[in-house]
């Protein structure tokens, strides 16, 4: 029998889980990653991973996890696969535990669980406040074992450029570039799984890592892979502002009892500790008595924006609120939150055990992504699969905290075997694809590189990127107005025109990071338009998508998935119904009893 071959692009949690599953099926894996996989963005996830193990005797169930996730996502997610994910979550925790993840423990030696946003249960397993890092390492170690036993071959330091599609539009492999030699090469495969993460870089500054550009998703989109719910991005309520990056301050800080407040008096410049309780406004607790500081992220983010921009109660008139942990014993903080407290201390130079932290919302997560079916993570192009943050399936209009790690591992775990099954059932594998199919794709990609290297222009790619980020952050994040979205789209088109005149300050052929960044930027610009146009069209407010001119959720007109297609070199928005067969949509009100 023919031995199929699978390529996986991206080595974060989803990509590694998919790799393990494919390797276990006895099928060889070629794993591509821009960075050594151990340095993938999953390491930045902090607070934990959800699973309804009910280990605190609260009567938690997977059905409640499912309901919280659907309700938290404002009913935009297709329900059956989310249900499967919630049912699989306890088993995923067991697996990670068997892999040796150093989860925090109870005195009995069982896993400890903490609270997170959008739920009333202790459902979040955690390893200090660096859970993503610990989970990624566990999977990285398993993949390294498969690698050392010859089942996985890593191509670290390679970037994906495009899919190789044959004349009937079936994926037969990928075209990638070695980031050292800048060699462009094609690789044959019977199926390709994309696990390429989020697209924070489109917003300039975000909580995402440098590699989270959305470039691969955009390249695929421009080859006919549909992209869904692009307009849904998550702005995390508590990030530490910074010029290079908005550093995440995990929801677990509030899960462990952290309180958000501002002084009641506008422009109050007194030191935080000297402001008496009676003069502090714990606005989340007051506005949302049931969930308090643990309302979902979209709600908390809008509340902070309201406090700062409408009530003018930002700290000393600035764009910041307090996230206060100082009432929690130092020993508890060090045991459960040390990783994030260190980040604050290192980058701000203030000890959050002593002084309340100053935080503000920042772009954090990409709910939308590559369209996949609701069965096996297959995209709209045969042979292409997607899992993890780069696809759109699990989080609807707003992701609940600690659901991302579980969705990455679950999605990767489905995509792997699904791709194997597809590859084994192919009548003709990639080995019988004509060499010219690969050759033409390679030539096309090489020509794009050559043109960029040679052209004499007047534009600097970093400048275009900064302008794109500012534009997106200003108009396409928390509060959206149609007239601003129209301006944003026009300006992105201006940037696309300027991008055509880009001038590379580095024309060498060895480890040319400028060339790679410029190619990513070209793709970011296209995806930025997908996000903006999706937001412009959706005249309602749902989850993280908020339009003051259309303040209510509008199920009659907008309970539907945005499915963007690339038609005649342009973006076309289409819509399809959401599968709400399991939980009937109901109003989403965290300020009242549900």
């Amino acid at each position: 029998m023919r031995q199929p071959k699978i390529i996986i692009v991206g080595g974060g949690l989803a990509g590694l889980m998919a790799s393990i599953r494919v390797a276990e099926a006895g099928v060889p894996v070629d794993l591509f990653s821009i960075v050594p996989v151990k340095r993938s963005h999953s390491v930045c996830a902090q607070g934990g991973i959800n699973a309804a193990k009910n280990q605190k005797g609260e009567g938690d169930t997977t059905d409640k996890h499912f309901d919280d996730s659907i309700y938290g996502g404002d009913f935009l997610a297709n329900q059956p696969l989310v249900k499967r994910m919630c049912e699989a979550a306890p088993g995923i925790i067991d697996l990670l535990d068997r892999m040796g993840v150093m989860f925090n423990r109870t005195p009995e030696g069982l896993l400890d669980y903490r609270r997170f946003g959008g739920t009333l249960y202790h459902r979040t397993a955690f390893a200090g406040a660096t859970t993503g890092q610990q989970l990624l390492y566990a999977l990285d170690e398993q993949v390294r074992r498969h690698e050392s036993e010859g089942r996985v071959r890593k191509y670290e330091g390679w970037t994906f450029l495009s899919a190789v599609l044959d004349d009937s539009g079936v994926c037969r492999g990928i075209c990638a570039m070695d980031l050292r030699s800048m060699e462009v090469r094609t690789f044959a495969a019977d199926a390709v799984i994309f696990c390429t993460g989020g697209n924070g870089a489109i917003f300039g500054r975000s909580t995402n890592s440098v590699v989270c550009t959305g470039s691969a998703q955009s390249a695929l989109f421009q080859q006919g892979v549909d992209y869904a719910n692009g307009e849904f991005i998550q702005v995390h309520p508590t990030a530490i502002p910074g010029e290079d990056k908005l550093r995440l301050m995990s929801e677990s800080a509030r899960g462990e009892g952290g309180r958000v407040w501002v002084p009641k008096k506008p422009g109050d410049t007194r030191a935080a500790k000297s402001i008496p309780e009676s003069e502090r406004f714990y606005f989340l607790e007051q506005w949302y008595p049931k969930y308090g500081n643990l309302v979902p992220r979209d709600i908390a983010t809008r509340a902070i924006h309201k406090i700062v921009f409408q009530e003018k109660l930002g700290l000393a008139g600035q764009q910041a609120v307090y996230l206060d942990l100082t009432h929690i014993p130092r020993e508890t903080l060090d045991r459960k939150l040390e990783g994030i407290l260190e980040i604050y201390e290192k980058f701000i130079g203030v000890d959050p055990r002593v002084e309340p932290m100053k935080v503000f919302p920042g772009m954090h997560y990409t709910m939308g992504g590559i369209w996949v079916d609701n069965e096996n993570q297959a995209t709209s192009v045969p042979g292409i699969y997607a899992a993890g943050e780069c696809e759109y399936q699990y989080h609807g209009a707003n992701r609940l905290g600690a659901n991302s790690l579980v969705s990455c591992i679950f999605g990767g775990g489905i995509a792997g075997p699904a791709a194997v099954k597809y590859a084994k059932n192919l009548e003709k594998g990639s080995e019988s694809t004509d060499a010219s199919v690969f050759e033409r794709e390679k030539k096309r990609q090489q020509a794009m590189n050559d043109a960029l290297i040679k052209q004499d222009g007047s534009e600097n790619p970093v400048t275009i990127w900064r302008e794109l980020g500012d534009l997106m952050t200003e108009h396409v994040t928390v509060t959206r107005y149609n007239k601003n979205l129209e301006i944003a789209d026009r300006k992105i088109q201006d940037l696309i025109a300027r991008f055509k005149k880009v001038n590379l300050s580095d024309r060498t052929q060895w480890s040319n990071q400028t060339l790679n960044f410029t190619r990513e930027l070209g793709n970011m610009l296209v995806l930025a338009r997908v996000i903006t146009l999706g937001a412009l069209a959706r005249n309602e407010s749902r989850g993280a998508h908020y339009k003051p001119d259309f303040p209510e959720r509008d199920d009659a007109n907008w309970l539907k998935t945005t499915r963007a297609k690339w038609v005649n070199n342009d973006i076309q928005l289409t819509y399809e119904p959401v599968d709400t067969s399991l939980i009937k949509p109901r109003p989403r009100r965290y300020d009242a009893a549900s």
Partner: protein
């Protein structure tokens, strides 16, 4: 000096550059506008946007590794004023100027500040730094682990493979294959776990012979350099004891 004429506060960097692995190195100096909360990565990005040296010569942007920018991915380790550290958390205001930036010296240079740390990942293979699970299918819960073991293991598991401990180790040089403190500490981590302990001897044996634990000369620079505060010398001492015990038992009953 033109810098003094301008009102703006400046940041002066001296950066060691190298076009490729076999090219010779040279230094370039840059003068940037100071801004609050600047770190070395922000400075490198400023140069990418305007790649001009202090004396007005056009040059290329720097090649360097970076990803998370919050000291958890391990990418951006370099020598900053002679010290191995992560560039993202190196705040400009804390550094004496001109700020000297060089690539790590114990790893092959790819270009400029980017180095090849594949040796560390290969060493992780050598010592079998993983828990050998039977498969990812449902086999129920993992073993119970006491909070005490978790509190010892978790800090070890924070290793970001940045290479700082190898950089400062006198035993890591062109004449040795010493795996370094990070890898030895991983052996301790896996040998501590209830399932990992079943295969402890395989890992100990992997640390015997050339490049293994006997190459440590107890300089103790590693523990000082570790950006994650991992008790590396404690790990080395512990693994050393286990390795001796294993070797001795092997000799007695071998």
């Amino acid at each position: 000096m033109s810098d003094k004429k301008s009102d703006k506060k400046k940041v002066i960097l001296r950066i060691k550059r190298q076009a490729g692995p076999s090219d010779s190195a040279h230094w370039e100096e840059f003068s940037l506008d100071w801004r609050p909360s600047m770190n070395v990565i922000i400075a490198l990005r400023d140069i990418a946007e305007n790649p001009v040296t202090r004396d007005g010569k056009k040059t290329t942007p720097l090649s360097y590794d970076s990803n998370c920018l919050e000291e958890i991915c391990g990418s951006c380790a370099m020598l900053i004023n002679g010290k191995a550290r992560m560039a993202c958390s190196a705040l400009i205001d804390d550094l004496e100027q001109p700020i000297r930036i060089e690539p790590l010296s114990k790893f092959p240079v790819v270009r400029d500040l980017a180095v090849d740390r594949q040796f560390m990942f290969e060493s992780l293979k050598r010592v079998k730094a993983w828990i050998p699970i039977d498969g990812t299918y449902d086999l129920g819960e993992g073993p119970r682990v006491s909070p005490e073991i978790q509190e010892k293991g978790y800090p070890l598991s924070n290793c970001i493979t940045c290479g700082s401990c190898l950089e400062v180790c006198p035993q890591v040089n062109e004449h040795s294959k010493f795996v370094g403190a990070a890898i030895i500490s991983q052996v301790r981590l896996f040998n501590m776990h209830p399932t990992g302990a079943m295969h402890a001897n395989e890992r100990l044996e992997a640390l015997m012979g050339p490049g293994g634990i006997a190459d440590c000369a107890n300089a103790q620079n590693c523990v000082e350099a570790c950006p994650k505060g991992i008790p590396l010398t404690e790990s080395i001492a512990q693994v050393n004891r286990e390795a001796w015990k294993h070797a001795l038992l092997g000799w007695l009953w071998g």
